[in-house]
């Protein structure tokens, strides 16, 4: 995708300029229950303006319900929230919806209408000025200007998703909620959507991204939160990794060491170790200090070192670790 969103100017609908230190979203102890079932419970977080915030969780964790609640489509059961500077109340629904956009998981386009007709309808619903100009800018952002006259029904799934994204950009939203934006897309279309989100991020758009694709969140988000009915963790991906996993070094050697205990036991930075198929994994206090000392000790002990590298735990490892904890906690 080559089109890049233009620098965003706050629209008339988004005229409440944020003060320094303001948050695009402030959520405090928000809960939503459907009868006896909690969709999400006691959720609190803040999202700064210009931040790309990932909201992760398994299917049924309450991600979409959270988005719908913050988008005033459904009412919270308890708790408070401020969305784009406006208190979340039933009366404020139209004002909040004028300042945000939500791209649902399913594009929800009128398939018999053209791309242009779809966007004209939504420009009218947002009561936007300069309709043609805005539509052209939005379509240019998603690189679809040349398809404006095509019926949406004739577009591929990936292109429909891009039209939905153009629709979500029409009103220059203060907060853009993207609900599983790459769900069901092939790798090429997924990469195009990722590139577009990256462009939006560079333009300072606040993005609330729900996904269960962890590599997507890791690549795109400044911070992530992991939801499993309750909020389990929140922070930068690096922070989450550090919080959940001990730092470690993976060492590969040509042949196992005979006097391993003696070699490693003499290194104060090494807190523990275990043997792996091709070497050892060492728990260390600080990999930067431990690696040179370890290399020296191994060479002195006559080991043939193939590699020494810090273990990289992916966000997926963090996520699975958390969900495993959930499963363990629920076990009688």
């Amino acid at each position: 995708m080559t089109g890049a969103p233009e620098k965003r100017s706050r629209s008339a609908a988004s005229s409440l300029a944020p003060a320094p230190g303001d948050h695009a979203l402030t959520v405090e102890r928000l809960s939503k229950r459907f009868g006896d079932r909690a969709a999400f419970e006691d959720v609190s977080f803040e999202v700064g303006y210009g931040e790309v915030f990932g909201f992760l969780g398994p299917n049924g964790a309450g991600k979409t319900t959270t988005v719908r609640t913050l988008g005033t489509l459904i009412a919270p059961s308890s708790g408070t929230a401020t969305v784009a500077g406006i208190q979340l109340t039933a009366d404020n629904g139209p004002s909040i919806r004028a300042r945000i956009s939500i791209m649902p998981e399913s594009p929800g386009l009128y398939l018999r209408l053209t791309v242009m007709e779809n966007l004209q309808c939504f420009a009218g619903l947002y009561e936007l000025d300069d309709v043609r100009g805005r539509i052209e800018r939005a379509l240019r952002s998603v690189n679809l200007l040349d398809r404006a006259g095509d019926p949406c029904g004739s577009l591929s799934k990936g292109l429909r998703q891009r039209v939905a994204l153009a629709r979500a950009l029409l009103n220059d939203p203060a907060v853009l909620f993207l609900d599983e934006p790459t769900s069901g897309l092939d790798p090429v279309a997924t990469r195009e959507v990722h590139d577009l989100i990256g462009s939006l991020r560079e333009c300072g758009v606040t993005i609330f991204l729900t996904t269960h694709r962890l590599e997507e969140a890791e690549r795109l988000c400044d911070r992530v939160a992991i939801l499993s009915t309750t909020l389990r963790l929140i922070g930068r991906p690096d922070e989450l990794r550090q919080r959940l996993f001990r730092r470690s070094l993976d060492v590969r050697v040509r042949a196992p060491l005979e006097d391993l205990k003696v070699v490693l036991g003499a290194l104060p930075e090494v807190e523990g170790w275990e043997q792996t198929a091709s070497g050892y994994t060492l728990n260390v206090s600080d990999p930067d200090l431990a690696a040179p000392a370890l290399a020296r000790a191994l060479v002195a002990a006559g080991a043939d070192i193939l590699s020494i590298a810090e273990s990289r735990h992916s966000l997926e490892d963090v996520y699975l670790e958390l969900l495993d904890e959930d499963v363990e906690a629920k076990r009688p």
């Binding site: 004028a98 398939l111 939504f122």
Partner: protein
């Protein structure tokens, strides 16, 4: 934020464009009225040319009643589709995410159904009157144009359409299945027509007062319908399938 005509217009224009692209909708809207106009015209053409006979009065009454079936029945399926159809297509959520109010959404939908319905109903009535004038015997033609027949038809056409539209949209807003909504909507469009039929066939003695009372009742339903339907329009239930 106040009631926005622009948002109403956005919904109406979108709906009309959707009809235009949907041959099935256009076909159904055109076919049903044609079916309903053939029988009344045939009734007139074969009516005995005997002045002021009860049989002639009944035939004319029946023919005019058929003409009122058009505004009552034509909009009911479209109105019944309006909310539940969008919900099933997955297009309702993106619309409700915008600042649109339920009242604006509903009025936009109602206008989009009312415009073609009333146009078609008046066009069919015009064809019926032209056929009566040109091809029926002078006695039959005079009976059609006698008294306040034409005025009553012109008055009741939009009133009946309004009733059917609001009842259809109300059913659509509370229904979870398109077919059930359409069947219920057709049934619900009939009660006012039944009253008019009883008047046409003198089961209820027709009078100007009764006709006016019925017209006023329909007018109240039509003008307040959007408020009533907006009150039962549950955004949360429509999005999640669960009562809000």
């Amino acid at each position: 934020m106040s009631f926005s005509r622009r948002r109403v217009a956005a919904i109406t224009v979108k709906e009309l464009r959707d009809y235009r692209h949907n041959r099935f909708v256009i076909g159904t809207m055109a076919f049903l009225p044609l079916l309903f106009i053939i029988l009344p015209i045939v009734q007139l053409l074969i009516a005995p040319a005997v002045a002021a006979s009860p049989e002639l009065t009944d035939r004319v009454g029946l023919s005019l009643l058929y003409m009122l079936v058009i505004p009552a029945v034509v909009p009911s399926t479209l109105a019944a589709y309006s909310v539940v159809g969008e919900r099933e297509q997955g297009t309702l959520e993106p619309v409700l995410i915008t600042p649109i109010r339920p009242e604006e959404f509903l009025v936009g939908k109602a206008l989009a159904v009312a415009a073609p319905t009333i146009t078609i109903a008046y066009a069919m009535f015009g064809i019926f009157l032209a056929a009566a004038k040109l091809f029926a015997s002078p006695v039959v033609s005079s009976a059609v144009f006698a008294g306040s027949h034409v005025l009553v038809q012109l008055l009741f056409t939009p009133l009946l359409a309004g009733w059917s539209i609001w009842v259809g949209i109300a059913i659509s807003a509370r229904s979870s299945d398109i077919r059930a909504a359409q069947q219920l909507s057709i049934l619900a469009s009939l009660p006012p027509l039944a009253i008019i039929a009883l008047m046409q066939f003198k089961v209820i003695t027709p009078s100007t007062g009764l006709a006016l009372a019925l017209a006023v009742a329909l007018l109240i339903v039509d003008t307040l319908g959007w408020r009533a339907v907006a009150a039962i329009f549950d955004r949360e239930r429509l999005i999640t399938g669960t009562r809000g």
